[in-house]
């Protein structure tokens, strides 16, 4: 990704990993601040959902990078939509419910 450099690649991916943790844990803290009780397996599901969503975007953009732009968009559309729907179902089951007493 960074021709002519040895360290930047590693630093880039470390930052990507750190950002993903911040995003997911930030979401967990946000839900906690709204009075939601989040257990460990729900956090795992959030991680999984986010990872799958990122994989779909990564796959599509990889295809775009290989000069298969239309295929990339179809990849994101066909696979991304079920992922978003599953995330919505998870949100409905664990987030959009009555607050626990």
């Amino acid at each position: 990704m960074f021709p002519g450099s040895t360290m930047l690649n590693y630093i880039f991916w470390m930052m990507m990993g750190a950002l993903q943790v911040l995003i997911v844990m930030g979401l967990v803290e946000l839900l906690k601040s709204h009075g939601r009780k989040i257990v460990w397996w729900q956090v795992s599901l959030i991680y999984l959902g986010f990872a799958v969503f990122c994989s779909v975007i990564a796959g599509g953009t990889t295809l775009m990078g290989e000069y298969e732009t239309i295929a990339g968009w179809y990849f994101i559309g066909v696979l991304g939509l079920p992922v978003v729907i599953c995330l919505a179902i998870l949100a409905r089951l664990f987030v959009m419910k009555k607050k626990s007493a």
Partner: protein, 387 residues
């Protein structure tokens, strides 16, 4: 002038516009055949008609070398599909061309791209090759193959013009299933249904989505309305299910004064409603300009389809993309956006963009012109029983 009067004038103007488009289309298509034949090949000259559907010409620069052009059509999904073949004096097919199609462009491109017509080139009319239909576009491929065979037979003079396509068993089953769905919808909406109507409606919607949408792909669209209006169905169709669905929807709309199709049967509506129920979202707020924009667009699409005598020109709904994955890239993008939007607003396509909704609104408005004020069919009975 009151608002209602203005709307009445606009409704009448719409009917006149559609009639004018249909009439202009008829004028445009006269004499089109000879022009199309001339465009098949620049090598053909001196084209004259010798029999119905058969023309004779000669090769450019060699008047003694006769060429015969046969034209024939076969019912496809959206109406009659017409092909032309050019045969030389050795009975060898030199050219095959698609003259008229009424199917969605994606199907045509798929079939032509698989070389269905090219497979006949160089073969004698008495020795046709075995050409397989293209998977996912069976009706269109079959129409092209049959069209070529009929055109060759008409050149030989052995073509029987009054060929009747019998209803296949599958078509009868589809029609029966469609009728069953509508009768169930009528029953659920009637006073005789004593159970939970909300869940019954959702259940029927789910069943219809699977059967009509997923299994049969027979949801009617704006092109079905155009097909019905233009009379294109009289020339034969590859499948009558969507037309039957449309006729039943109109029949029950006029008899029960309720749009049962949109509320209980529409497969794409079912998909949107299912997604909307995940997030429990509310319907979008429909402004006047949105309503009229959708209506104008629908009117324009119908007018163009009637003018060009091609019902599929009026197709811009995402139904085919959702259930059969057939459509252009733009339609794919629209479908994804609509499905994503369904998670945030309830039935966005139905409420804001659907041309079928616009047509039913128009029919409801025209129906209100009926002098005597008729109540819904079961409301009168309710009052009788109460008294």
């Amino acid at each position: 002038m009151s608002r209602k009067r203005v709307e009445q004038i606009l409704a009448l103007a719409s009917i006149c516009f559609l009639f004018a488009a249909w009439f202009a289309g008829g004028v445009r298509s006269k004499g089109e055949i000879l022009e199309q034949i001339k465009n098949i090949s620049s090598q053909i000259q001196g084209v004259t008609q010798i029999r119905p559907q058969v023309f004779e010409g000669y090769r450019r620069g060699n008047p003694s070398e006769k060429l015969y052009i046969g034209i024939a059509g076969h019912p496809s999904y959206g109406g009659l599909l017409q092909v032309a073949i050019v045969v030389n004096s050795n009975q060898t097919i030199e050219r095959v061309a698609l003259l008229q199609d009424t199917d969605t462009g994606t199907y045509i491109t798929k079939v032509l791209g698989n070389g269905v017509l090219d497979a006949f080139l160089g073969h004698k009319t008495s020795q046709f090759p075995q050409v397989d239909a293209v998977s996912g576009a069976t009706l269109t491929s079959t129409a092209m193959i049959k069209g070529v065979e009929k055109a060759a037979a008409s050149i030989h003079g052995s073509f029987q013009p009054k060929e009747k396509d019998a209803f296949s068993k599958e078509e009868v089953v589809k029609a029966a299933a469609t009728l069953g769905l509508f009768l169930t919808a009528v029953f659920i909406s009637s006073r005789f249904f004593r159970w939970n109507k909300k869940y019954a409606r959702l259940g029927l919607l789910g069943v219809s989505t699977v059967i009509l949408g997923g299994l049969y792909g027979a949801q009617f669209s704006l092109s079905s309305f155009v097909l019905l209006l233009s009379g294109g169905w009289t020339k034969g169709l590859g499948s009558y299910t969507s037309l039957i669905c449309l006729i039943l929807a109109l029949l029950f709309f006029f008899t029960t004064r309720k749009n049962l199709y949109c509320a209980m049967i529409c497969p794409f509506g079912g998909v949107q409603e299912g997604l909307g129920r995940i997030t429990r979202c509310s319907p979008p707020r429909k402004r006047e300009w949105m309503k009229w924009s959708a209506r104008l667009f629908t009117l324009f699409a119908m007018g163009m389809a009637l003018y060009f005598r091609n019902a599929s020109n009026a197709t811009y709904e995402p139904f085919g993309m959702v259930f059969s994955f057939i459509g252009s890239d733009a339609l794919f993008a629209l479908t994804i956006l609509i499905l994503l939007a369904s998670l945030f607003v309830r039935r966005p396509w139905c409420t804001l963009f659907c041309p079928v909704t616009c047509v039913f609104d128009f029919l409801a408005f025209v129906r209100s012109w009926v002098p005597f004020n008729r109540e819904p069919w079961n409301e009168g009975r309710k009052k009788e029983v109460a008294s």
